[in-house]
Amino acid sequence: MKLSLALAMLLAFSLAPAARAANEADYKAAYAAAEAASKEAAGMRNQWTVTVSALAAARKAADGGDFDRAVTAAKEAEALAKASVVQATSEKEAWKAMEIR
């Protein structure tokens, strides 16, 4: 029983993909996606301050060679920018619900 458990664990670990550190190409791809979403939000006049901060954090981390952190920040920026686009889109009509009539 103990042997089969150990074998199962060994098999599981051997099949699990090894965590790979992010490289510059990963960062550039993540940053480009975030920047595109951010530009869309800005075009809708609905940029969020936190998106701008996350993009800046991504650039700073990349400049320091920390691509893991840079990718994480870029992905966060992309998610925030996309949320702001959703907000601006839904508010095109939703604002009327708040109006005093």
Binding site: W48, L80, A83, W95, M98, E99
Partner: protein, 287 residues
Amino acid sequence: MKARFALLLGSLSAALVAFALTSPRVIAADKVDPVADAKAFQNFFFQKFPTVKHDDFVNGPYSMNEDMKRQWQEKEEFPPYEFALDAGKEMFSTPFKNGKTYADCFPNGGIGIRQNYPYFDTGEGKVVTLELALNRCREANGEAPYSYVKDEMASLTAYMAFTSRGKPMDIKIPDDPRALAAFENGKRYFYTRRGQMNFSCASCHVQSPGERIRAEILAPALGILNAMPIYRSEWSGMGTTSRRFVTCNSQTRAVPLEPQADEYRDVEYFLSYVANGLPISGPGARP
């Protein structure tokens, strides 16, 4: 069979009546009607706060909280905007390099006219705020424009507001589809949620006036611009209407627009129009 037919006919009639009753409301809701909007806006606050005197709404949070009001009334004996007021008076009367003054740019020499701003310029097709008119006056006379958010601009508008104290806000919307569009755009901006906090201007100043947000008491939207510009203790200085809009946006974690952007001009037009009849109380002092 007859019963089923009667039931069907009854349901159809009920549906038609319901449609007839609701459809005019839908049409009315989509029509731009500033007079009806202003009436509804004022009634909302008058009914929500029946003990507040109508003219008192222009005093913002002080109209909502007796303790704060007493403190403010004492502070008004030596108001924190006094230095800006004095500076504004001096600036207003100091000639430009070409010998002209601000008085040459405004009706009635710029005295007692705050209640007419912003106005819709039918030539330009846009809303013109007092701050914008002041900078245009400077530029027309060969002077560099001031920052829209503080210092000199706040001093100048403080003086102009002071000379207009007590005069009822009197914003006109000309019979021009572009003016109606500007009003509607301002209204949309006021009610639209933005920023990571998902707040609109109305989230605080319509839904929650009198409530605390952290240590502050929220001001009612009605008459909120009548007190501008203001000295804010939080800013340790004076701020203009532009500064107020920029700060509100930042607080909701939305990137502010550039001062005097069309949206800001339009929301100032909307908020000023719905406060028509309420007195100018600027310059004001706020926590």
